[in-house]
């Protein structure tokens, strides 16, 4: 187990370097960020040169990348164009997005798995068909449509919620945005659980458990569900990263000042430091989440061993 973890951690290094290098190059290809700072006029050349020097943009890209990575390891993610250190932006953005992600993941787990179990156990019945159809609808409607619709109905027409989230972004305010963010994944979780449950229902160990005379509740939760959750856990694990990075649409609609907002603004303003910094952290989140998922397998299914 320990050796496995070390091996996985070592594998992360090339993935991390590759991913950051790629994003660094992509941001740099987009053109000269200083040119966008002076509005509809040309920056005066002296100030532009000075700014480039300050942000290290006058050096070749490979050198910029090395300096940047060197700084990252000392915890310095550079400075955004508005003079704020990127770490400060992260400190304000990540807690908000993490809260949003937690709400979304909770929705996925609670509603998604519950619906999956219900439909899996009642395969072919009207409940099953109904839920299947609904998940299809949810999957096919883009997030921004769901988001704008809910915002308009709940926020403006019925006045149940505020259409936008305040600066504090408390859990209460994040319920609707979290649901919107989770909706598509929620549908997938339902479908995955359903298939998995339906398949395992006919397996030998379930029949044995039933034959032993165990109560139905115990059969379902301890024997059936535990085994059926493996694909679902994989999905949710990888989804954590996707939700954090992919919240741009939801965060824009509900005016949440999280990671998506900073990334979007960073891209518009071609702020290399912000974009690369946030993506670097997101890459780390992805990698760690994946590792945790793999380790969870062993917990869920003792047959899986890592050496």
């Amino acid at each position: 187990m320990g050796r496995y973890v070390i091996r996985r951690l070592l594998q992360m290094i090339p993935v991390f370097i590759g991913a950051t290098l790629l994003i660094f190059l992509m941001v740099n290809v987009m053109g000269d960020p200083i040119a966008g700072l002076c509005g509809d006029r040309q920056c005066d050349p002296a100030t532009a040169a000075q700014l480039k020097k300050e942000f290290g943009l006058d050096k070749p890209v490979w050198q910029q990348y090395l300096t940047y990575m060197g700084n990252v390891f000392t915890g310095d993610f550079g400075t955004a164009f508005n003079g704020q250190p990127v770490t400060e932006l992260m400190a304000s953005a990540f807690p908000v997005t993490i809260r949003l992600t937690i709400v979304a993941i909770l929705f996925e787990i609670v509603i998604g798995i519950a619906l999956g179990v219900v439909t899996g156990l009642r395969r072919g019945r009207p409940v099953d068909t109904g839920v299947l159809l609904l998940t299809l609808v949810v999957i096919s409607v883009p997030t921004f449509v769901t988001g704008l619709l809910l915002q308009l109905l709940l926020g403006v027409q019925w006045g149940w919620i505020k259409p936008s989230v305040s600066t504090e972004a408390t859990f209460g305010e994040l319920i609707v945005p979290g649901l919107v963010l989770a909706s598509v994944s929620l549908a997938y979780v339902t479908r995955l659980t359903r298939t998995s449950i339906a398949e395992n229902k006919r397996s030998d160990y379930v029949r044995t458990a039933v034959a032993k005379g165990l109560p139905r509740r115990r059969v379902v939760t301890r024997h059936l569900l535990r085994n059926s959750l493996i694909p679902v856990v994989t999905f949710i694990g990888t989804d954590i990263g996707a939700l954090m990075g992919g919240a741009i649409v939801t965060e824009r609609i509900f005016n949440i000042h999280g990671v998506g907002f900073q990334l979007y603004q960073g891209i518009l303003r071609q702020n290399t430091q912000t974009v690369v910094g946030f993506v670097t952290v997101l890459v780390l989140v992805f990698l760690v989440a994946n590792l945790l998922v793999d380790l969870l397998y062993a917990v869920l299914d003792p047959r899986i061993r890592y050496a």
């Binding site: 700072l37 006029r41 040309q42 509603i111 949810v138 649901l179 603004q265």
Partner: protein
């Protein structure tokens, strides 16, 4: 519907959690104006640190407008430059000015505003080492070349043209005659700065201190700023409300939705998609007033194809092929006005705006357009590509509409196509690298309401915003003459003559004047936009 049931469930939970706050900003106040009530307004994250000489966009400008007062102030209605902190600005030769500062002004931290507050601030703004993006505003002051050389290191730290005479007086020496120089001093870059700005710069940036009608109560970068009325403000344009909370919105659609739901009082940028509904949604709580912004199509004069003898005719032809009226009506819902000169209606007739100066060169006439383009030798390469940035400002819609209009007029559906560029920064890079091959979007928001500001920076040889690199001796000499002319009316006439040169060569095709738009909640009154399309916050009454 499954989705719907869960939405209900979630909404109920949310409603339960939020009952206390859900309708917080909704109810309209009772009784007449409450001088202590605070209003909320939409905002965008300022692009640059909030230093006066470093703020060149409207979001940061909004704040500076509230917390600073300069020597002059532009009248929110007429745009005329009026004395604010200046007791008088004297000159005999339009080149050497003596500025006298009024008594009794202080910064909100109690420090007196003196001649030194101005001179120090201007020196800071001009100095190359401070990276101030508005440094060029000081370029006419003597000694600018030493503090802000085009290359290499600066040989001086302060402008030799600025001298403090005493607490109340300082002198300004310019490198050239510039009769309207005092009228430029209302721009925020010329604001005075307290000593705290220099002694504790980082602290000042966290919570800027100025001398305007508001002080900053709290500032959470990237999300909101709470400004409150400064009771000790010595000026006569005191705040009529208790304060303003600026909230950052990533998407102006969300801000608009928040306004409808009653969570926000003022939106100063109504999204294009909502223009159709805005009358129904807000009724007369919607403002649509002229702002000092003009949209034009500029041309790459560095490209020999666009710099031939006949190309002026081609450009005029293109101008005549654009149905401005129809585009402003259908796409912009009349939030733009078809342009008939190269300035803006906010200047007023006296300030140099002249309706119809463009003449029939701006009138839609497909037959004449076709004829002119034919006489001029046809479209270079058989097709024009209009380059624009696609990330903001719904530029795609109008560029496509302009192309459509041109294609219809010329009877050739390949005559004009749009050429989108992903981001504004990339668009500016390509312009800076002179990579334009055809007309491109050129928007101009005035810095100060003077006809000079609409002409010199855009069309003077090698001027800072002359993106097409147009150069014309006659135009340059007329502008020089106008700048030395001490009589304002005569100066304006000379500028208009220069504008005539722009017209005869069709250096840029004027498209439309842009309006500022705003919507506000029922509890506000006295809302208006100044010529810079910024709400006049201090005059808004709440309740």
């Amino acid at each position: 519907m499954r989705g719907a049931t869960h939405a209900r469930w979630a909404a109920l939970a949310a409603a339960a959690a939020l009952t206390a706050t859900a309708c917080g900003g909704g109810g309209s106040g009772s009784g007449s104006g409450d001088g202590g009530a605070v209003l909320s307004s939409s905002w965008g994250d300022p692009q640059n640190p909030l230093e006066p000489a470093n703020t060149n966009e409207v979001q940061g400008g909004k704040v500076l407008d509230m917390i600073f007062r300069s020597l002059k102030k532009y009248n929110p209605e007429t745009g005329a430059a009026e004395d604010m902190l200046a007791e008088k600005i004297d000159t005999t030769d339009s080149q050497n000015f003596t500025v006298t500062v009024k008594d009794g002004w202080t910064f909100s931290n109690g420090e007196k505003v003196t001649a030194k507050s101005f001179v120090d601030a201007w020196n800071y703004g001009a100095s190359l080492k401070n990276n101030q993006k508005n440094a060029y505003f000081f370029q006419y002051i003597d000694g600018y070349a030493q503090v802000h050389p085009d290359g290499g290191t600066q040989s001086a730290d302060t402008l030799s043209g600025l001298k403090v005479v005493n607490d109340k007086t300082f002198t300004v020496k310019l490198t050239q005659k510039f009769s309207t120089f005092p009228d430029t001093l209302g721009y925020p870059a010329f604001a005075p700065l307290p000593q705290a700005f220099f002694s504790d710069h980082a602290g000042w940036l966290k919570k800027p201190v100025g001398n305007g009608p508001y002080t900053i109560d709290s500032y959470t970068k990237g999300s909101q700023m709470a400004l409150k009325k400064w009771d000790g403000y010595p000026g006569d344009d005191k705040a009529q409300n208790g304060g303003v909370t600026l909230k950052v919105y990533t998407d102006n659609n969300t801000a608009y939705t928040d306004l409808l739901a009653g969570n926000l009082d003022l939106v100063d940028d109504v999204p294009a998609a909502q223009l159709k509904n805005v009358k129904a949604d807000l009724g007369d709580r919607y403002l649509n007033t002229p702002a000092g912004i003009i949209q034009t199509l500029a041309f790459p004069f560095y490209d020999p194809k666009w710099n031939t003898a006949g190309s002026a005719k081609v450009r005029t032809g293109l101008s005549r092929a654009i149905d401005r009226k129809q585009i402003t009506e259908t796409i912009f819902q009349n939030t733009r006005t078809p342009a008939s000169d190269w300035t803006s209606p906010v200047l007023g007739e006296e300030g140099g705006f002249k309706k119809g100066l463009c003449g029939d060169a701006c009138d839609y006439d497909p037959a004449a357009a076709k004829q002119l383009i034919k006489e001029g030798g046809g479209l270079p390469g058989g097709q024009v590509k209009i380059t624009y940035n696609a990330d903001t400002g719904s530029h795609k819609q109008w560029v496509d509409a302009v192309c459509n209009s041109i294609n219809n007029a010329l009877g050739n559906d390949k005559a004009c196509v749009g050429n989108p560029v992903g981001t504004f920064a990339d668009f500016r890079t390509q312009i800076g690298d002179r990579k334009m091959s055809g007309p491109f979007r050129a928007g101009w928001q005035m810095d100060y309401p003077l006809i000079q500001n609409f002409l010199q920076p855009l069309y003077y040889t090698n001027a800072s915003s002359n993106d097409g690199k147009w150069s014309n001796k006659q135009f340059d000499s007329l502008v020089n003459q106008a700048n030395t002319e001490t009589d304002t009316a005569k100066a304006v006439q000379l500028f208009q003559q220069a504008e005539g040169v722009v017209r005869d060569n069709m250096a840029a095709i004027p498209l439309w004047y842009q309006n500022g738009s705003a919507g506000y909640s029922e509890r506000l009154s006295g809302v208006k936009l100044n010529p810079f399309s910024v709400p006049v916050y201090n005059e808004i009454k709440v309740g």
